[in-house]
């Protein structure tokens, strides 16, 4: 059939090897050399500590959050990174979503490369409240919630980005300088 043959021809064509200018290697290594710290410096320990915590909310706070449906709460602490860390300073930000019927919720955004596995949100027993804490340095971040691995939800209480990548809803958070 012409149509299938044509698509298969496109596929075969696209599978051909592509040659990227090897000068890119040099540019990458130059950029790396200009970084303020060496490789692989973990924010990892701090990251895991932060994301692994369950957060307890006051009843008043929980009520307010539920009424608002979703709230991003300004950070509760600052984390000073090690002197050789990539991030000079981080602030913890709590993201909260009320979604009683979800089996799992992930926070995805620029800060975790939109990786749904990296920041699972934790459910507060009994109230359908999901939360996660992310350490962020000053900057502008787009983010969204991923419910049950398939439903993308923007934060209705935060500005919506106009530059979403693929039409999926997302919100924007701007972290000011310290």
């Amino acid at each position: 059939m012409f149509d299938d043959d044509a698509v298969e021809r496109v596929v075969r064509y696209l599978r051909r090897s592509v040659r990227i200018d090897p000068a890119l290697d040099h540019r990458v290594m130059e950029e790396i050399a200009a970084l303020p710290a060496g490789p692989a410096v973990p924010a990892g320990g701090v990251w895991r500590w932060l994301t692994g915590r369950r957060l307890t909310l006051t009843p008043l706070g929980a009520l307010g959050l539920a009424a608002a449906f979703v709230v991003a709460v300004v950070g509760v602490w600052r984390v000073r990174a090690a002197p050789d860390a990539v991030e000079p300073a981080l602030r913890g930000f709590q993201f909260v979503l009320v979604e009683p019927h979800a089996a799992n919720v992930s926070l995805v955004g620029d800060f975790n490369d939109w990786d749904a596995t990296r920041t699972p949100m934790h459910r507060t027993p009994g109230d359908g409240l999901w939360s996660a804490v992310v350490p962020l340095e000053p900057g502008r971040y787009r983010y969204a919630f991923l419910i049950d691995g398939r439903l993308w939800v923007a934060d209705p209480t935060a500005p919506t980005t106009r530059d979403d990548d693929f039409g999926a809803p997302s919100s924007v958070l701007t972290v000011g300088g310290l």
């Binding site: 044509a6 698509v7 696209l14 090897p22 990296r118 691995g149």
Partner: protein, 197 residues
């Protein structure tokens, strides 16, 4: 993402793992041997570049996304939990960088057309102007919605399994299958159109 599948997929074609393994290079970088990272960049440059090039449609944007992915991966190397799967992990970063770069490119394009309605109805260059097959393919890909193009390329060109694509993109498997199906249908229609012009 199953381990065996991911180990094999990103570099299925071409470059074999001759010499130092990814894991060994990652360990050297983590130990402070920054130069070892150049080996990883060289190893993955072309194979990941193919996806970036097809996804973004031009070399400038593709190389920007690729460079950004490599640098981000370097900065986050501590979070690569399984160095044996560095390639799959890097692939995920690139997919996201392509999204960001693609969105930025779309914004650039929008600056020239302030009326969104006009943008949607403005036809892309017609196939009559594209005489080479390469141009036709790029033209056809560019007409796919970004999420459909992404799913189509990951499934049919990069030959990933749906489970792996779901991990990389955050989309559900059913949604991905639908995107691929629609992408194929759209491509068929576009190519048929090209055939008749």
């Amino acid at each position: 993402m199953s381990k065996g599948r991911c180990d094999a997929t990103p570099g299925r074609e071409g470059i074999g793992d001759v010499g130092t393994s990814d894991a060994a290079l990652v360990r050297r970088v983590r130990a402070g041997d920054t130069a070892a990272y150049a080996d990883l960049v060289a190893r993955y440059r072309d194979r990941l570049g193919r996806y970036a090039l097809h996804m973004l449609g031009n070399r400038e944007d593709a190389e920007e996304a690729l460079q950004d992915a490599f640098v981000r991966a370097y900065r986050s190397l501590a979070r690569c939990d399984d160095p044996e799967r560095f390639g799959a992990w890097l692939y995920g970063i690139l997919v996201n960088r392509c999204r960001t770069t693609g969105a930025r490119a779309a914004r650039r394009a929008r600056r020239f057309v302030s009326d969104p309605t006009a943008l949607e109805t403005t036809p892309l260059p017609g196939p009559a102007e594209q005489t080479e097959w390469d141009d036709i393919v790029r033209w056809a890909l560019a007409r796919l919605a970004p999420e459909a193009r992404e799913a189509f390329l990951l499934k049919h060109v990069e030959e990933l399994e749906y489970e792996d694509i779901a991990q990389l993109t955050g989309a559900g498997i059913s949604a991905l299958k639908m995107r691929v199906k629609r992408a194929r249908e759209q491509l068929q229609a576009i190519l048929r159109e090209a055939e008749h012009v």
